[in-house]
């Protein structure tokens, strides 16, 4: 056993309202620079949809992640042979048009154009060339476009679903979508790290954050191909790759990452998980049907004395072990079994977990007659003259999951490597907590039914209350349990004194962060 600590995350998809505040917080802090305009280290996608970059999940195109090669795994589109042979031209790399060409508008034309009979316009210009362009794509171009042929129907997650099943999803009355916020997963078996010929990418031992050393990156671009989530981006101006750094300067100071701190729906949780590094290869090589259960099994119980002993032997601090014991992510993922990794079949062992969305799956549209009700409203009330009701009632127990309007196969392809049972299990648990809470607060459900729901999910009443609290009421310090990084150490890691070790103060001051010749 080789216990290490990892900062892990949980995103509760039922709570995501798709406001993109996280993306903006990240963009303002980290990627508001030349060459990085197109990068969204944090982005929010509409599912079903093609995502960003377009069809990133289709590894037939981008060849990202690991593949099972019988008895072991190897990088699908990079690695020692493929990477070095393709170093002069990487055939599987997305280009800027797969993301979008960044643009702005010539706002000055609005002010400076001479007086004329026509309104002045601000033409869009490319942020790369500065020339006028026709905008073909932009950030969140497919936002809320569920059901459309260009976006939703090209979603790569429909594999294994019949044409009829797919079409059923897009009927107007059944149509549903949800949001998928994505950042770097800070994987345990990162394909980007393995693919980097220069060795610029690395995983921090202390907290598991995956970073790119900008001084060592040589623009061989293999990480862009290898990351199956397309969360490593090539900065076309500096000639270096960049990625989400999980706001490590903030983490080290005890602050939550900017995307998580700013989250309006409070969907994000961050905490320490202890894992067994000896088992990474074994878990990553598991057969597809065992991937989820093995992935869960590598996350160790922070109360187990053997785990604690091994953690201490590895120099993991008491404060970190304590943080793991009260970690909200450990609770969601292991204790309550509610969260799943995104696309486990890429075999990178992502450490960002998602609580699957219950609402779009369970809600239905019913025909109701509300004229009687409408007649009671005052004259200024806004009354919709349709007879449809978006019904999210939880009266039925398990029946609704099987009759879900959103095919579970789709969610399974997204979150459980195609295993529908894992999805059903999570949804049933979410449902049970809802039914239990409905009995407790509204009281229109009999107690026996609430208990039956909890028993079916394997929860006690205390667990259900805890889930409810952490889901709905959690304060900042409950959602983000950040282990002490100790300021003095953080400063040592961050501070640039202007000199390097061994230079005895002699050197030339230079704008070292400029693009090379």
């Amino acid at each position: 056993m080789d216990i290490r600590s990892q900062i892990s995350m949980v995103f509760h998809l039922d709570k995501c309202i798709g406001c993109h505040t996280c993306s903006i917080a990240c963009k303002n802090i980290w990627t508001d620079r030349k060459g990085a305009e197109y990068m969204w280290w944090n982005n929010v996608e509409t599912k079903p949809g093609t995502g960003y970059p377009t069809k990133w999940e289709d590894q037939g195109i981008y060849k990202g992640g690991w593949e099972d090669v019988g008895g072991g795994i190897s990088l699908k589109g990079a690695g020692k042979q493929k990477g070095l042979l393709n170093i002069f031209h990487n055939p599987n790399m997305p280009v800027i048009d797969d993301y979008y060409e960044p643009f702005t508008y010539k706002y000055l034309d609005l002010i400076e154009s001479p007086a004329s009979d026509d309104q002045p316009t601000a033409r869009p210009i490319s942020l790369i060339t500065g020339q006028p362009i026709d905008i073909k794509m932009g950030p969140n171009w497919d936002d809320d476009w569920s059901g459309t042929p260009d976006y939703a129907r090209n979603d790569p997650n429909f594999s294994g679903m019949s044409k009829a099943e797919q079409e059923a999803m897009f009927q107007l009355e059944r149509m549903a979508f949800f949001y998928l916020p994505r950042i770097c997963n800070h994987c345990l078996n990162p394909a980007c790290v393995a693919s980097c010929p220069s060795g610029a990418l690395y995983k921090r031992g202390e907290d598991g954050v995956v970073l790119i050393n900008q001084e060592v990156c040589r623009a061989w671009r293999m990480c862009v191909t290898a990351c199956p989530y397309k969360k490593s981006y090539y900065n076309w101006h500096t000639g270096k790759s960049e990625k989400c750094i999980l706001c490590f300067p903030r983490l080290e100071a005890g602050l939550a990452p900017a995307c998580m701190h700013s989250c309006v729906g409070r969907i994000r949780y961050l905490g320490v998980i202890l894992y067994d590094a000896d088992r990474i290869q074994d878990v990553a090589s598991a057969s597809e049907k065992d991937l989820i259960s093995k992935h869960m099994s590598i996350l160790m119980d922070p109360f187990d004395p053997k785990v604690i002993a091994s953690a201490k032997a590895n120099g993991i601090a008491d404060s970190t072990i304590h943080a793991a014991q009260v970690s909200p992510t450990y609770k969601f993922v292991k204790e309550w079994g509610l969260a799943l990794p995104l696309h486990a079949e890429f075999r990178t062992l992502p450490m960002l977990f998602y609580v699957p969305p219950l609402l779009p799956v369970m809600a239905s549209v019913k025909e109701v007659h509300n004229q009687e009700q409408a007649a009671k409203f005052g004259p200024i009330a806004k009354i919709w003259d349709d007879n449809w009701l978006y019904d999210t009632s939880t009266e039925e127990l398990w029946g609704t999951i099987d009759k879900a309007r959103f095919p579970l196969k789709y969610l399974a392809n997204l979150l459980s490597a195609g295993d529908e049972r894992a999805i059903t299990d999570r949804l049933k648990k979410l449902m049970a907590v809802r039914i239990y809470r409905r009995w407790k607060t509204v009281g229109d459900i009999p107690e026996a039914k609430a208990n039956e729901a909890l028993n079916g999910a394997g929860y006690t009443a205390e667990m259900a209350d805890d889930i409810y609290c952490l889901t709905s009421l959690a304060k900042f310090d409950d959602r983000f349990v950040i282990p002490a990084a100790h300021r003095e150490h953080a400063i040592e890691m961050l501070e640039f004194t202007g000199d390097r070790r061994g230079t005895v103060g002699f050197g030339f001051k230079e704008d070292t962060m400029q693009r090379g010749l």
Partner: protein, 242 residues
Amino acid sequence: MNLIDNVLFVGLPYAAIATFLVGAIYRYRATGFKVSSLSSQFLEGGGIYIFAVLFHWGILVVFLGHLIAFLFPTATLAWHSNAARLIADEVIIFTFGLAVLIGLVALFIRRLSSPRIRVVTTGMDIVIELLLLAQIVLGLWIALGYRWGYYWFASDMSPYLWSILKLNPQIEAVSAMPAVIKAHIVGAFIIIGMIPFTRLVHFLVAPFHYIWRPYQRVIWYWDRKRIRDPLMPWTETRPRNN
């Protein structure tokens, strides 16, 4: 004539090698961020493909051909005493030289004609591409016009290059060379001297160490085993993060 030859074949080589060594080491150590291949595939991926491959593999083989004749002149002469081997090798190197020419011309056109690529093109890129273009044209000309280079390179050029390295320059043989070959030699040293000031630095950091590196890399900021060692006095290793 003698003065010019001394400048071109003694002064220039030493100046070039010195500039190369000092410049490359300084650029690597002081401005590591600026050492990059500055790939432009991301901005324009279609046109680059075949030409980047032609150019790079071509220049690798051509460079290797020169390097072998320079390092092992006797073995090179012995190996090429067989006419079939000599012709085969010359044809191979010439073919790869042509690949360099085709690739370089196409990449040069791409660099000038694509608006996106022009944005990431510096003046130095143009200078070095023109120099490389001149160099490869001269090289192909020499291969055609002054045939069996493997003979005279191994017997005349290699001793000259070694004499430069041994700090005892002997330029009699090169001063007697035709002007085209002289230009090729001068071009080579100019390019070597310019490496630290151009994007050519990227070949110095070619990632061969990837071959024997384990795939995953984990970096620890402190020695995790020693943090909790009770025998370690606090003054030497402060307990971290605890």
